[in-house]
Amino acid sequence: MVLAAVAALTFTASAALAKVAFPGHSKRPIRALTPPARFLETVRRDELQSGVLAPAQADPATATAQT
């Protein structure tokens, strides 16, 4: 009885230790390898980004806006 209890205790402790020490799996929640949000924000802010142009469909004299 005592031997069984010691064996069970030893097994439980060993299993817990193996879970912590074994390098083959993640010990913490997995995070995607993306750049930090603040870095992305800085890059976007620092870029002069283009809009989209296309050939005009209307005659220049009838364009709806003027720059």
């Binding site: 870029e47 002069l48 283009s50 142009l53 364009a63 806006a65 720059t67």
Partner: protein, 276 residues
């Protein structure tokens, strides 16, 4: 703001909100209204607490200076006054008097921490390099559906719009903003020398660029306007500067056909069909 504002696609309520937005921006950022926050800031020097709106605009102005390597700068208030644009443009007249002393840009004289501002050495701010374009972008956000907002010819759109260009051509703005910077509308003489409002930050004098008008397409009106000013000031290097950033640009010089940079041509010229 001394310019015509055009709004398309707005409901009556939205149009009223856009009108109030532009009126508010004029009250805060006018160089000529005695009660504007800009006038108070320039007269005070600092340190002072500015409104959240003012702080945001100054941050945009400092961003424009950083992103353009100092070309578009918010510290040229004294320079533009020295050139003669010291009152509403309708009242600016040519004069036999020479322009005032040159006033180069001094962005290092500005310290902004949150809403606390310090201006050193008598520097004067002029935020018109960003305020009008930002107002256009903000105005567009007040529209729930498709439409566009244009102020002084700088516009932002939600939905496609055909835009007449300087010199008689037109282009379709599919998304983003389109802005034109130039010296054909606001020019005057001082002692026989031509002046205009686009100041070279290095010299503190109106730029001697060969361009009359530069039109740029950006992801927003603010980006387009900042890039257009920078490209104008860069002279012959303007087209390539825009191409390095993938920005379409159209350059008009007196007596010459408009010059389209590579990015503009790639956007609007018909493509050759692929070989099959």
């Amino acid at each position: 703001m001394g310019c015509e504002v055009v709004v398309a696609g707005a409901t009556g309520d939205e149009l009223s909100r856009v009108r109030r937005l532009f009126e508010e921006r004029d009250r805060v950022f006018s160089r000529f209204r005695a009660d504007s926050e800009l006038r108070r800031v320039n007269a005070t020097g600092g340190p002072m607490v500015v409104s959240a709106l003012f702080a945001r605009a100054l941050e945009q102005g400092l961003w424009a200076s950083e992103i353009t390597g100092g070309l578009v700068d918010p510290t040229l208030g004294a320079a533009i006054e020295a050139a003669g644009y010291d009152r509403d443009f309708a009242a600016v007249a040519s004069s036999p008097e020479p322009a005032g002393p040159a006033q180069p840009a001094r962005p290092e004289a500005v310290s902004l921490l949150g809403r606390v501002l310090l201006l050193r050495g008598g520097v004067k701010l002029d935020l018109n390099g960003v305020v009008k374009a930002a107002a256009v972008d903000d105005g567009l956000q007040l529209l729930a559906g498709p439409g566009f907002v244009s102020a002084g010819g700088d516009l932002a759109t939600r939905g496609e719009v055909d835009v007449a260009l300087p010199g008689g051509a037109a282009v379709r703005l599919v998304s983003g903003g389109l802005a034109t910077s130039g010296r054909t509308k606001r020019r005057w003489l001082r002692a026989g020398y031509g002046q205009h409002h686009l100041i070279d930050p290095a010299t503190g004098r109106p730029s001697t660029t060969p361009w009359e008008e530069v039109t740029v397409c950006g992801a927003s009106c603010l980006v387009a306007d900042v890039a257009a000013k920078a490209a104008f000031l860069l002279g012959d290097d303007g087209p390539s500067w825009l191409d390095e950033r993938g920005l379409p640009g159209r350059f008009v010089a007196a007596g010459r056909r408009p010059h389209l940079n590579l990015s503009w041509r790639a956007s609007v010229e018909p493509r050759e069909p692929a070989c099959t």
